[in-house]
Each structure stands twice: as structure tokens, then as C-alpha cells.
Amino acid sequence: MRLFENLNINFMSKRTTFYVVSSIILLIGLLNILIRGLQFGIDFKGGTEVAIQFEKPINIAEIRREVDKIGLGNVEVKTFGGSTGILLRTEMQEIPSNVIPKVKSKIEAIIENTLPGIEKKVIDSTSSSITYNFSDPQTAEVINNRLFEAGFQTAKVSEEPTNTGVVVRLGIADWIKENFSEKFVNNPFNVLKEDKVGPKVGKELKTDAIIAVMLSLIVILIYLGFRFKFAFALGAVIALFHDILITLGLFAILYGVIPGLNLEITVSVVAAFLTLVGYSINDTVIVFDRVREQMKLHKSLPLEENMNHAINRTMSRTLITVFTTLLTIIVLLIFGGEVLRGFAFALFIGMITGTYSSIFIASAFVLEVANRTKTKIEF
């Protein structure tokens, strides 16, 4: 089978149309980024995040109501994976001090319910943990396990068999778990993951991500400048920049629009951008490679004609290579699960715009430079 075998389209003459198309998409995307903003994941924002999987399907509105009651302020609630999973997130790092007495009384109620009338002493209390001492090691052991089952993170003070102390963590995730296990008695759940990221880490990561993307663009600029002519390298990098901006714009436009698609900027989305930069340059390289070959063969022909010829000749391989990669990305989008979805989506959009831009932006840019400066590019 052969697709696009004798393709002969004058792509370069239509370039203004594509400038307009690109500009409109970019503009809509940028407006959305400015107005709606990009939603950053916990990696960049910091905070606490818990993913919980229930046994039976749950009503998300009910979960929201429950979460509002436990005094943690603004907690985001989303579905995670399927109809039984939820993701809870808050920007808080610790339980606010006005809720702590509530948490403590809950812990003490559990202790009281387990072993009524038991003697206990608070020997240490901080903003993130509380330490109890009991009369004998056996009691400490029982309470330790009971509180752990109730959703709290607990530890014995020492591993010695004579230990009588139990430390209970007062964490946001624990408080949520405890409330849920009480509220949804008939629908047991299982904690899938729990993340807590300090604000400083997120801030640094943002800087690092921008540096990494910029660095990769510069590396490509240098490499292609060395392999081709500088105008070509610049065209390619502008095309890549265009791809990233469009993908980012789509993340802003589509955030919360498609159910089940969690479009927030996480570390893996940044990884997708970097992969995109490295991969989407491939099409451009193939076109440029052919342009260079054409220019060597037909020195007298105008650049525009050589470019058209090169694009038409390489069209089928450009589309097929992107198609095979898109196949695997679609597989990741469908089968990869919640964790990989944002990553796969960024790649999916980026690959498509990457192919488009390698034809209509990268080559067109080189042509514009050549026309404007009236220089003849020669290899």
C-alpha cells in the first residue's frame, strides 16, 4: 500500500493561511492561560494529596459534603481512575490548629471505645503528632493496632518489648481517612497513594522545569545550527516553541471539560514536553534533510520550489512515523491508567501539532528569512 505517493501540493504558497490558523489557536490558548490559568499538580504547588479507592461506586457530591464538614477548608475532590476512586487535595501541609482538638478527642474516643476506662497519659504533643503512654506494653500494642486500623499513622515509641508509648500522627490524610472509615462503614476503602510536598520543593521544581525545557531547546538550536544553517535551526526551534505553547494552551482550555481527563501540569507532563521537543524535531529534520539534498541537486531552482518538493516527497514517511507513535500514545491514553493520562495527552496533542508545525512553521520560517533578507541559502 502506498499513501501520498505522487503528492504535489504547493504548501509554501498557502503559508499565510497557516500563520493565521496557528495564530488563532495560540491566541485562544494564551487567553485561556491568562484568564483561567494553568492548573498545577501537587508536584509544583505543594500540599497534601490522598487517593482512595472504595469497594463500591461512590457519589462524588456526597464525598464533597463529607469533606466540607471535617474542617480542612478548601479541599479539592476529583474522581481517580474510575467510579470507585477519588482524589482529595488541599494546599495545606498540616491540620489547622483549630481542628486539632477535634482530632485529639476523636483519637481518645477510639481508645476509650477499644478499652473502656483505660489509663492513658499524654506525654508529648506537637502540631503534627501526639504521644500517649499506657499502663502496660500489651495495652500499647492493642491501641497501636486499633488506631492504625482506624486510619491513623501510628508507631510504638520504641521497639523494645517493654514499650508502653504510642505516637499518633496528626496528618491531613489521616484525618480524612478516619472520617471516611466512620462515615462509609458499608463501603470500605483502600488508600492508593498519599503525597505531601513542601512549598519550597514545588517552587524549585517549577524553575527546574522551565530551565530543562529551555535547555533542551537551546541544545537543539545548537545541534541543528551545526548540522544545517542557522536559519533552519531557528525555524525548527520556533516550531517547537509553537508546539509547546499550543499544548499548554489546550491544557488550559480543556481543563475540567473532559470528564476523566485530569489536565493539570505535573512533573510527568513536563517530561512529555521534553520528549516532545526531542521527538517532534524528527519530522523537521527529515524535511530539512530533504530540502538540503534538493538544494544540492537543483541549485538553480528557487528555495520555495525545493521546499515544496521536499515536503511532498517526505510527506508519507512523516505521516507514517507520527502515526505509529500516535498509536502507542493512544494505547497509553486508554490503558495506561490515571497516572499516565496527562502525560499521554500532552504527547498526543504535541505530536499532532509537531507534525503540522514541522511542515508549515519550520520550513515557512526559513523561507521568510530567505525572502526578507534576500540572501541565497546554500549548502
Binding site: 500500500m1 502506498r2 481512575g81 493496632n145 486499633r146 486500623e149 499513622q153 501510628t154 508507631a155 510504638k156 505516637v167 499518633v168 500522627r169 488508600v191 492508593l192 497513594k193 503525597d195 505531601k196 510536598v197 512549598p199 519550597k200 520543593v201 517552587k203 527546574d208 522545569a209 530543562a212 533542551s216 541544545v219 537543539i220 545541534y223 541543528l224 512533573v267 510527568s268 517530561a271 520528549t275 521537543v277 526531542g278 521527538y279 524535531i281 524528527n282 529534520v285 527529515i286 534533510d289 516527497r313 508519507s316 514517511r317 507514517i320 512515523t321 505509529t324 507513535t325 500516535l326 502507542t328 500514545i329 494505547v331 497509553l332 490503558f335 495506561g336 491508567g337 497516572v339 499516565l340
Partner: protein, 635 residues
């Protein structure tokens, strides 16, 4: 034909090597399955016999049991050590990033800190939370603004600020090293299998603890203050008779056990089967000495060597009530921190019998320094104590000359030097250290007592085992469906040439896994995504080559000429495009952590192996077909 042969050897060699490297992974998978199945019976019976026991406790017990079986049986262990490791996101566990709290460290280091200093330090600490600047440099700047010299609080009066700053930064880096050593030591004791502890940047530590459910427990372990103690080692005249008593009591009670039998018997039988008869008999009669072999058979040194794999067994023996009865109350057994390798490559730990009550604790140490002795040019470590410690130390050393005094950090012995003479000033020198690295380690350990390394947890992530299981399933489905889709398309579009590319793709995936196993790299979910993506990208090289061959055939070239020209003319485009992707892979590896690095790694390995497949393997098949006169069919 001749030139094909060499390349064919290359390809077959690479495939064979990959398969060889993947055998342990497969074996480990089978072992895991087997042990899990064995333990499921135990789990059921435990549930039946103890209906009141919480499910969590049973699960924990079973998990511990499985870990200990898998890591103690030498066969299982060999496979486990060489398998492709799974990342935390696939097997569940805890990921922590800790940072040295420089402000607390500075507070400790400052001489005569006044209110003003504490005030400025607090401001500097708050400011550092929001900026990338280091606390030390912020503090220096703030003091300068107020016209105070740094030397008022740190260093000596003659030193200028720059020198003090660089020294403080050094202290900070030291604290990180110290914290890592303390954490590594504790994680080892906690019995986490395959922990990963790494330094990140200048003041951070990344800790990965697979399969940890009780976070709070692990976290307390990591953050608590390190305990450094000096304990006297027992004399042989005292230690040997006790060891002999333990041996006798143990032999008698084990004989009793084997008659009644217990649930762990099946497991025990497995490990002892390989030993020959006389050894077995020795083990029966002297169960203690069989696994804790005396270093000196004449019994002049009461230390024993214990195989790494026997440690748990010995600990269980020592915990038995009848054994505990014969061990005096004021005595305990402790292991060396680092194992020594025996002639057969087996790791042995030295076991010491020590006084339970420490003579001194590490709080009295002011400083420690590793050095080279100028006269003997052997590595030494010097330590200074404060006046109170020095007084005690003089008494201890004076009355125990010729005895050994062990340096114990968090229950593990780092060194047990012999006391040569009475040390009146508290300035001691430890010699007889095998190399400078060990000396450096001892310095770190001694300082741990004097200067705790305050660390804060700044990032904490935990993945439950069920999410890990789901991810493994999703990952392997993606690999399977990704391959099928790409392979079907290639076979459909390029016919016979397409199926050759599909074969190349299988080899590519095999090689990626082989390389991962060979480098003992960790496979993460993004890593699997990298493999899936690589499959889509790997055929690109084939597509470029095939399209070119088609074009060459169209110009009327013979099959042989078209294949040659096709491969030759597409080489530069293939290399260009793969090199750029490889570059971004390197940048990504630098930028990311954990899972993302896994992705970058598989992406880079994927690029190399797919190039190998497309340019070498597929080429051989084409060359072979051309030489045999088969029709080249590129769709």
C-alpha cells in the same frame, strides 16, 4: 555471506546476553509466586486459629515472613539481587526527601549566641523558605547589614567572613553525610529490603523504602536523634563460657522442637539441605557455634563471625526464653556495622559480646577528625571530649587498659579499639584502621554523637501496594496492545518488510529489558510508558529506510542496489533525529527524579537498541534476502 556472519554473531550475542540477564528476573518471579502460595496456607491457618488478630497484623507478619524467606534462601536471593527492580510506584512503598535544617545546625555551632543572633537566625530561616539562597549566606548578609562580623559567633577573630562561610558550608555538607550514615544504619536495622538512600544536591537526602506500610514508624526511625555509646567488650574468660552455655541450652531445646515440629519447619529444611552430613551433625550438636563461628578457635578473642543470611536465625535463637535465661542481664550481643567478605564472597558480620550499660555516651565528644599519622602514615582518627567527658574517660581508660572499647551508634558497632593507656586529657587517637575511607566513616560516626544532624522531611510520597499492582497490569497491557497495533500496521503497510521490522521490534524490547537488568536499573510506570513510546518511535527508522528503498526501486535500481542506497541515504536523517531525542533524554534524566528518571532511562536505552535493531539486525535480514535472490517486498 562472510560479512553477514560477523554481524549475525553480534546480533545473536546481544540477544543471548539479554536473555541471560533476564533469567534471574524470571526466576525471581517464579520464586515469589511459590513462596506467596506457600504462605497463603499459613495465612489461612493463622486467620483461623487467631480470629481476633487484626488483619493488618497478619498481613504484616506474612509480608515480613516472605521477605525473610526470599532474602535468606541463597538461591532466591541470587535471583532477587540480579532481577530488574521495580520502582516504588509499581511495588508500593515510601519516598521521602529530607533536608538538613541548617538553621538548627548553625544554632548548635554558634559560640555564645545572644538574643540578637537568634533573632537574625530566625529571620534568615524564614527568608530561606521562600528563596533558593542558602541560610548561611542569608545569615552572613543580614549580619553584615547590621555591621556585625561573622567571627563574633563563628570561627576565630582573625578569620574573614568568606573563610567562615566556606567552613560553615562545609559543616553543612558534613551534616548531610552524617545524616545519610545514620539513616542507612537505621534502615538496615529496620530490615527494609532494598532501600535506596541517595544524596541529592548539597543538602538533601532522597530515601526510598519499598513495601513500607507503617509510615510513622519509619519516619520516626529516620528523624530521631542518633545515639552514640562507648561500651566495653567482654573478655574471653567471661564471654566464651557463656557462649558455650547458650550452645548447650540451644542444642537441647532445638532437639525438643524437632520432635514436636512447627510451621516454620518446611522453610528451615530447605536451607539446610545443601550442607553435608558432618556439618549437619555439627549444626545439630552446636547450633550456636555453627552459625556464630568463633574468629579464633582457641578462644582468645571472643568475637564470632555470622553469615549475613544467618543473622535473623541467630537473633531468633537469642530471643528464646531458655537462651535469654543463660545470658547475664548486663550483657548484650551486637553486630558490626559493615560486613566483611569471606574468601567465598559470602558476607560475614562480626558479633561482639558487650556490656549493656555504656561507659559514656557521645554527647561528650566535641570534635573528631580522620587523618594520616605523620610517622607511620597509617590512617588514624582523633577525638576530643569536653572536660566532663575527659574526666570520665580518664577513669574508664585507666582501669581498663588492654581491654577493647566498642564505639556503638544506634546499636551497631563501628569499631572496637583496644585501650592502650590511660587518656587523661580526653584527646584520644584511634589507630589500626585499615584504610582512609573507614577512618572517614569513623569520624562521621563519632561526630554523630556531638553534632546531631537535624533533618526535616520536605517531601513525602507513599504508594499503596494495590495501586502498584494496578499500574503493573496497566503497564503490561499497554506494552502488549502497543506492540500489537504497531506490528499489525507495519505488516499491513509494508508487507514482508513490515514483518521483518516487527521482529526487530521484539528484539528491541528484549534488549531494553536486558540492558535494564544488566545495569540493575529500576523499572517504573513512566519507564514502562517509555518502552511503549519507544515501540512507536523505533519503527520510525524502519519507515524512513523502507520509504527510501521504495523510492530507489522506483528509479529502476536492482534490489541489491536499492537496499544499499536505501540504508545509506536514510542514515543521516535517522541519526539526526535520534540524537536530538537522546539529548532531551539526558536533560530529562538530570531534571527528573525517581519515576521520571526511569522514563528518561528507558527512552535513551530504547533509542540505542532500536537503532541497533534497525541498522544492524534488519539490515542483515535484507542482505541475506538479497544474497539469496529473494524478492524485496516493501509493500
Amino acid at each position: 555471506m562472510k560479512e553477514i556472519r560477523f554481524r549475525l554473531f553480534l546480533v545473536l550475542g546481544a540477544i543471548a546476553l539479554s536473555v541471560y540477564l533476564l533469567i534471574p528476573t524470571y526466576k525471581d518471579y517464579l520464586n515469589n509466586k511459590k513462596v506467596t502460595q506457600q504462605l497463603s496456607f499459613l495465612e489461612d491457618s493463622l486467620k483461623k486459629s487467631n480470629p481476633n488478630l487484626p488483619a493488618i497484623q497478619i498481613k504484616e507478619f506474612i509480608n515480613n515472613k516472605r521477605d525473610s524467606i526470599l532474602s535468606n534462601n541463597p538461591d532466591y536471593r541470587a535471583a532477587r539481587e540480579k532481577r530488574v527492580k521495580l520502582g516504588l510506584d509499581l511495588q508500593g512503598g515510601m519516598y521521602l526527601v529530607m533536608e538538613v535544617n541548617t538553621a538548627k545546625l548553625l544554632e548548635k555551632l554558634a559560640k555564645d549566641p545572644d538574643d540578637q543572633f537568634n533573632q537574625i537566625l530566625k529571620e534568615a530561616e524564614n527568608e530561606s523558605r521562600l528563596s533558593n539562597e542558602n541560610v548561611v549566606s542569608i545569615l552572613a548578609r543580614k549580619l553584615k547589614e547590621k555591621g556585625i562580623r561573622l567571627s563574633r559567633y563563628f570561627g576565630t577573630i582573625r578569620e574573614d567572613d568568606d573563610k567562615i562561610i566556606s567552613r560553615l558550608l562545609e559543616q553543612e555538607a558534613d551534616a548531610v553525610t552524617r545524616a545519610i550514615e545514620i539513616i542507612r544504619n537505621r534502615v538496615d536495622q529496620y530490615g527494609v529490603s532494598e532501600p535506596n538512600i541517595q544524596k541529592q544536591g548539597s543538602r538533601r537526602i532522597v530515601i526510598e523504602l519499598p513495601g513500607i506500610a507503617r509510615e510513622e514508624e519509619a519516619k520516626r526511625l529516620l528523624q530521631g536523634r542518633a545515639l552514640l555509646e562507648f561500651k566495653l567488650v567482654k573478655d574471653p574468660e567471661f564471654a566464651i563460657p557463656i557462649m558455650k552455655r547458650i550452645d548447650e541450652v540451644l542444642a537441647a531445646s532445638l532437639k525438643g522442637d524437632s520432635l514436636t515440629g512447627d510451621t516454620t519447619k518446611t522453610v528451615k529444611a530447605d536451607t539446610s539441605k545443601q550442607q553435608n552430613l558432618t556439618e549437619e551433625q555439627f549444626a545439630k550438636e552446636h547450633p550456636f557455634f555453627a552459625i556464630a563461628r568463633l574468629i579464633d578457635p582457641q578462644g582468645r578473642i571472643p568475637d564470632a563471625f555470622v553469615k549475613e543470611s544467618d543473622r535473623q536465625k541467630l537473633n531468633a535463637y537469642l530471643e528464646r526464653p531458655e537462651v535469654k535465661k543463660v545470658i547475664p542481664d548486663n550483657v548484650e550481643f551486637l553486630y558490626d556495622a559493615k560486613p566483611e567478605s569471606g574468601p567465598d564472597g559470602v558476607k560475614y558480620y562480626r558479633l561482639y559480646m558487650l556490656n549493656k550499660t555504656p561507659e559514656l555516651t557521645g554527647g561528650v565528644i566535641i570534635d573528631a577528625k580522620s587523618n594520616i599519622d605523620p610517622t607511620t602514615s597509617a590512617p588514624i582518627v582523633t577525638m576530643q571530649m569536653n572536660s566532663e567527658g575527659a574526666r570520665e574517660w580518664a577513669r574508664i581508660t585507666g582501669s581498663n587498659i588492654g581491654k577493647r572499647c566498642a564505639i556503638v551508634l544506634d546499636g551497631v558497632v563501628y569499631s572496637a579499639p583496644v585501650i592502650q593507656s590511660k587518656i587523661p586529657s580526653g584527646n584520644s587517637q584511634i589507630s589500626g584502621i585499615p584504610n582512609l575511607d573507614e577512618a572517614k566513616l569513623l569520624e562521621i560516626v563519632l561526630k554523630a554523637g556531638a553534632l546531631p544532624a537535624p533533618v526535616d522531611i520536605i517531601e513525602q510520597r507513599s504508594v499503596g501496594p494495590s495501586l502498584g499492582q494496578d499500574s503493573i497490569k496497566q503497564g503490561s497491557n499497554s506494552v502488549l496492545f502497543g506492540y500489537l497495533l504497531v506490528a499489525l500496521f507495519m505488516a499491513f503497510y509494508y508487507k514482508k518488510a513490515g514483518t521483518i521490522a516487527d521482529f526487530g521490534l521484539i528484539v528491541t524490547v528484549l534488549l531494553i529489558l536486558g540492558v535494564l537488568a544488566g545495569f540493575q536499573a529500576t523499572l517504573t510506570l513512566p519507564g514502562i510508558a517509555g518502552i511503549v513510546l519507544t515501540m512507536g518511535m523505533a519503527v520510525d527508522a524502519n519507515v524512513i529506510i523502507y520509504e527510501r528503498i521504495r523510492e530507489e526501486l522506483k528509479t529502476g535500481k536492482t534490489d541489491r542496489a536499492a537496499v544499499d542506497a536505501g540504508f545509506k541515504n536514510s542514515l543521516s536523517a535517522i541519526l539526526d533525529s535520534n540524537i536530538t531525542t537522546f539529548f532531551t533524554g539526558i536533560i530529562l534524566y538530570q531534571f527528573g527524579s525517581g519515576p521520571i528518571q526511569g522514563f528518561a532511562l528507558t527512552l535513551m536505552i530504547g533509542i540505542l537498541t532500536s537503532l541497533f535493531s534497525a541498522l544492524v539486525l534488519v539490515r542483515i535480514i535484507f542482505d541475506y534476502m538479497v544474497s539469496k535472490g529473494y524478492k524485496i517486498n516493501v509493500g
